[in-house]
């Protein structure tokens, strides 16, 4: 009898501890978002979104950084998607399981853990200097595409792997070739999962600062980029720039920009969750 009570007590204690741990992170996030909202929300209006940067905090807007981020996002998607998905398909369906492929696999996982500034240095050397792209949107996109490539590959592989083996069997048994099986069965069935992974990877890319600073993205760009070869800035860099200014007005701007950036990542994550749920339903 005593034992049962003891166990129940332990259960209660752990439950309380678990709740506390869970809440810690959430509460901190809530405080952070709350204070940002208080500081920045009043600053967000159409003018703020469409204004070019300025020396006066009241006139300065997020337009160039927002457009820079959108350019980066689109180009990074275009570059990383075909590379990542093709590599994942190769590794999952075509490559023979041997020593070489397992070395390859381990190293792709390792790449996902390489600090982003290292990718910046790589991008600086290869894209900016050797390929002479300069500090352009294109160089930035290639660098970020490399950065998220491991994430795209790993998540795509997981989604393809999640397609039941019985589907492959059925397709092959009807006389389908490998490519037909991949393109007509595996990719459609894993589409939601792949998209989820890609969006999450991109929402990481949109928040990256260090690698872009290394390749030479500028803190002050007078105009939004109009071609892939233009110089650019992105939202995190703009935020960093504003915060480092002495005038109080720029701090408000930074808070407003943080709200915008958070909004973008939350929306992207929301879309990812939506597709994941939809996809899971389809497989059942």
């Amino acid at each position: 009898m005593n034992n049962i009570r003891k166990n129940r007590l332990k259960d209660q204690i752990f439950r309380g501890w678990g709740i506390a741990c869970t809440l810690l992170g959430l509460v901190l996030l809530a405080i952070f978002i709350g204070s940002i909202l208080i500081d920045g929300l009043q600053r967000i209006d159409w003018d703020f979104i469409t204004s070019l940067p300025s020396r006066n905090a009241e006139n300065a807007g997020i337009y160039t950084a927002l457009m820079g981020s959108i350019w980066i996002l689109v180009l990074t998607t275009i570059i990383s998607l075909p590379l990542g998905i093709a590599a994942a398909i190769y590794l999952e369906e075509y490559s023979k399981k041997n020593r070489f492929s397992s070395i390859l696999e381990v190293n792709i996982s390792n790449l996902a853990g390489v600090p982003s500034i290292i990718y910046g240095l790589l991008g600086l050397e290869i894209f900016v200097r050797i390929l002479e792209m300069g500090a352009s949107v294109l160089a930035g996109s290639f660098t970020l595409a490399l950065l998220i490539l491991p994430i795209v590959i790993v998540s795509t592989r997981e989604s393809i792997k999640a397609v039941p083996k019985s589907i492959r069997d059925a397709s092959y048994a009807l006389g389908a070739s490998k490519w037909q099986t991949v393109s007509m069965q595996l990719l459609p069935a894993s589409f939601g999962g792949i998209l989820t992974g890609v969006i999450l990877a991109l929402s990481r890319a949109v928040g990256e600062t260090a690698p872009l600073i290394v390749i030479g993205a500028l803190a002050y760009v007078p105009f939004a980029p109009s071609s892939p070869m233009d110089e650019f800035t992105v939202m995190p860099i703009q935020i960093f720039n504003w915060i480092s200014r002495p005038q109080a007005g720029f701090e408000v701007n930074a808070a407003a920009a943080i709200i915008m950036l958070l909004l973008i990542t939350f929306i992207m994550n929301g879309i990812a969750v939506y597709f994941r749920n939809k996809w899971q339903k389809k497989l059942k």
Binding site: P164, A170, S171, Y172, L174, G175, A176, M184, A189
Partner: protein, 266 residues
């Protein structure tokens, strides 16, 4: 015929009877010998049942005839597997073409997560057939052959996943028939189904043998007795006994066979 179809195994235009043969077949998974040298001839337009305890190699042996073992890591084959005298493991064979001639139904119903229509049409689409009218005819015809048409004719665009297990398995058979194979391999096709669905599938198998050679792996000895013309008993990778079903079940030659069919082991 295009160049791709050069390695064709069976010419559909000749209504030949298709015979399966193995000569000294051994199958290895890495170092493990799963099939220990089997010579066997399977007759055309009959139902042949493979029985034996789990792990006896009957499924492995069945999958030799459409080369589905090729995907298993460490698979290696010695000896010859022939269909109408042609070795289907020689280099020149077009495996995709082979599988159009040798269809397969699996243990668990495995419809694609697509519509009922697309499930049946898939085998034709991968051959490059996209003519809507032809596909519709073929789908209807195939679904009628498995007596599923009346149940699903108004729901062709609905997901096949929503069908019951028995319906799914009949759909999988229809999908196989749509490609017009001449041989159908069935790997315990009713083991995941309820008795009523099982009865329907058995009835179907009985009708199908008019047009197809059917090889079926089953754990259910009554089923083998009900539907097959010939039965082969496998044990530990060897073919112990192979005879007319009636003979094998009433008067087996080997003691091991008798022990198995009377339920003394397995």
């Amino acid at each position: 015929m295009s160049k791709k179809e050069k390695g064709i195994v069976i010419d559909k235009s000749i209504k030949r009877k298709h015979k399966l043969e193995t000569k000294g077949v051994k199958v290895f998974y890495d170092d493990f010998m799963a099939i220990k040298g089997i010579d066997m001839t399977i007759k055309a337009n009959k139902v042949t049942a493979f029985i034996g305890p789990s792990g006896c190699g009957k499924s492995t042996f069945l999958r030799l005839f459409n080369r589905m073992n090729d995907y298993v890591d460490g698979f290696r084959l010695e000896g010859e597997v022939r269909i109408d005298g042609e070795n289907i493991y020689k280099k020149k064979i077009n495996v995709e073409q082979l599988r159009k001639q040798v269809g397969m139904v699996f243990q668990k119903p495995n419809p694609f997560p697509k519509s009922i229509f697309e499930n049946v049409a898939y085998g034709l689409r991968i051959q490059g057939i996209n003519d809507k009218r032809y596909l519709s005819e073929k789908v209807e015809d195939s679904l009628k052959q498995v007596a599923l048409w009346d149940e699903v004719k108004d729901d062709l665009n609905k997901s096949a996943i929503a069908l019951s297990g028995g319906q799914q398995q009949r759909l999988c058979i229809a999908r196989t028939l749509a490609v017009e194979p001449s041989i159908i391999l069935m790997d315990e096709p009713t083991s995941a189904l309820d008795p009523l669905s099982t009865a329907k599938i058995e009835e179907l198998i009985y009708e199908l043998k008019e047009k197809y050679s059917i090889v079926i792996v089953t754990h259910n000895m009554q089923q083998a007795g009900r539907i097959s013309d010939y039965t082969a008993f496998f044990y530990l990778g060897e073919l112990i006994e192979y005879d007319r079903t009636k003979k094998l079940f009433t008067n087996p030659e080997k003691q091991q066979t008798e022990n198995y069919i009377t339920g003394r082991f397995g």
